[in-house]
């Protein structure tokens, strides 16, 4: 049986990977989370693990002495032009954090001698360092598809091409994702299509009214959710669009839930919440539960859009400024686009009077979301066991 560690520096890492951890444990493996500080630690890095009552360790347990400043000062002296555009405070802190991770992960691997290491994706700060340290010590490590693969991210920043530099395997959602990664230069032998494992539990039959009730909504009234991407990346004027949506729902008698991206500032979310509480409810609940409770989801170019389609809920792309939505799913025929003056379309979708061509939707899902049979976790675990 294997000794496996999973990196979980943020809440969503555990949310996405816990089903895999549990299945691995059921099969007799020892699975422990490892976490690390997140610079200022504004977001919790251990409390979610403590609350979940899962075994975990912290990278700082392995940092034997203050031996990270040599690496940090060397890197800081070489930063060059980026120092003209980023506050020195953040440069300094990030570089030291990286130096601590480099030493901490190296010591952790030497001390714990894991058989396998997992991380959510290699484009995150910590797991890339951990995967690098694994590659140096010949320890297999695997990661997952980060989320929706946007062509623009690849074109502007080459994000997909650096998704598996050090990982032994990259487990991706679908054939289309696999093709994108290959096109971006990821070696074919690293890629395995497993489906979206964190959706498995949500693909089982469920009682929609019960889920609505559990989330604090009236089970007998229709609910729509507006799941915003990071507002700094919203296509169009998010405040105008949110205001329009809140007003429309307020005057049409449907329930509205609003959820901001987890990276938004907590105080900002509370402020918005206070300003619209009469007509809508701003929630911080698990997004997949919220999608299942909804009869319609409004969003834009976000992983939640894919999750909505995967869970069989109608998706609307909001474009009330006629700005255009990045890599629109409406253009691919699997979502409905709502532009200026078209808010009343929502009514027909909510009440099931209009919808997407089901044949087209199934074809699209097969190609882009991958298998939705509820067995992705099994396929992931089978693949991981091959690495042990």
């Amino acid at each position: 049986m294997g000794k496996i560690f999973i990196f979980a520096g943020r809440v969503h890492h555990v949310e996405r990977l816990n089903a895999i951890a549990e299945l691995l444990r059921l099969k007799g493996h020892t699975v422990t989370y490892i976490t690390a500080d997140n610079y200022l630690n504004i977001d919790p890095n251990t409390s979610h693990l403590i609350r979940s009552n899962v075994p975990f360790t912290h990278i700082l347990n392995y940092l034997s002495a203050n031996n990270s400043n040599g690496i940090a000062s060397d890197a800081l002296s070489k930063l060059g032009e980026i120092a003209d555009c980023v506050d020195p405070f953040y440069l300094s802190g990030s570089v030291r954090e990286a130096a601590e991770c480099l030493i901490g992960f190296e010591h952790f691997l030497i001390q714990e001698k894991p058989d396998l290491v997992l991380g959510l994706h290699e484009n995150n700060f910590w797991y890339r360092i951990l995967a690098y340290c694994c590659s140096v010590q010949n320890i297999p490590c695997a990661c997952f598809q980060e989320g929706l693969l946007r062509l623009r991210d690849e074109t502007t920043q080459g994000k997909q091409s650096i998704s598996a530099d050090y990982s032994t395997k990259l487990l991706c959602w679908s054939d289309a994702a696999r093709e994108s990664y290959i096109k971006a230069g990821i070696p074919e032998e690293k890629l395995v299509v497993t489906g979206i494992s964190h959706l498995d539990a949500y693909l089982q039959p469920y009682n929609k009214q019960q889920v609505k009730y559990n989330l604090g909504f009236d089970p007998n009234r229709l609910l729509a959710s507006f799941l915003l991407p990071q507002i700094s990346r919203y296509d169009g004027d998010w405040q105008f669009q949110l205001g329009t949506v809140v007003e429309w729902f307020g005057s049409n008698g449907y329930q509205l839930a609003i959820k901001f991206h987890p990276f938004e500032n907590e105080q900002f979310v509370e402020q918005v919440s206070r300003s619209i509480y009469k007509s809508a409810k701003v929630v911080t609940t698990n997004v997949l539960d919220l999608i299942r409770a909804s009869s319609l989801v409004m969003s834009q170019h976000s992983t939640v859009a894919i999750e909505t389609l995967a869970l069989g809920i109608p998706l609307v792309e909001m474009d009330l400024n006629n700005f255009g939505v990045l890599e629109s799913l409406s253009e691919q025929g699997v979502a409905t686009l709502i532009r200026s003056g078209e808010m009343n379309k929502l009514k027909d979708i909510l009440e099931g009077k209009v919808g997407i061509d089901p044949v087209k939707l199934v074809q699209w899902k097969n190609q882009n979301i991958g298998p939705l049979d509820g067995h992705s976790t099994d396929r992931v675990v089978a693949e991981l066991e091959r690495l042990l």
Partner: protein, 314 residues
Amino acid sequence: MRTLVLFSAFSNSLLSLCYDTLDSGPTVVVDFDDEIHSKLKSFGISSIPIRVPGDSSWAKRDTEFANLAMPGSLDFNFKGTSLSAWKVLSLDRFSFWYRGRQAQLQYEAIMGLDWERGLVPLSLHHPVPWRIARERQVMAVQVEALRTRAWRDWLSKPLPFTKLFLWSQRDIDFLKNFAGEMYICEAGDFPAGVPVDKNERLEARKMLGISEFATVALVIFDSQTEWEFRSTLPEIVQAYNHVLIFPLQPHDRRNLSDLGVFGGNIRIIESMSFEAAADEVITFRYEESLIRPRRVPIRVVDLKQRWDSNLLNG
């Protein structure tokens, strides 16, 4: 000689030197922020507001960032490794804080003004003062605590400023290998704490219902030292009759509550005014802004010296 005073941050020390500059010759005062602008106005200073548009297109911003930092100027490996710095630092760190076109336009606006000598805040919280100091004669005024790990790390090469106005000899000592001319100016933003007297101590304890003879520690919780806090708390709880915990910021309060630390002899307090009731304040990293205002003895428990506390306190 015309002097530019840049208020990229507000501080009383900078304000004081700004008045001196205004009295001594032609001066142009600028700011980047409406709040600072209003504050300056309330002190009778009319500053030029430099306001520049943000990035209009995310695709453009991402492309510019990629040119600058992927790998751009980050095309080197971490010391002793073959791990590229940009692959770790760019996407999931620096891109969050990249000021993009805005920083460039602010820089251009300042360089387009007529001035020969500059006066700026000595701060890690804006890149533009550093950039202009590399190109013109610029002096800097201390506006924040210097004896911090962030500052210590940043001091990998000489500071670009021609003169520094600092709050104390201790600050001069800290920068002695990295700066030329240094002078002490009034530390208007940073008064040292006045020791607690016996009556105040008794009064504070009375308010908390703590006996005069009990041993009391006040622990400052800042989330950055969460690991040190968790590792040390059981020992602290054993050693004292009462442990008061003060979360430094609103997010610290939330994180502390999430950690579920309460009950027994632990009490979460809302204000540092209860410091008067403590025999000792405990913190987990040396940071002058936490240390200097203290009114009772303070102990820094930097378990692995990862915050360089001994060095900073030296």
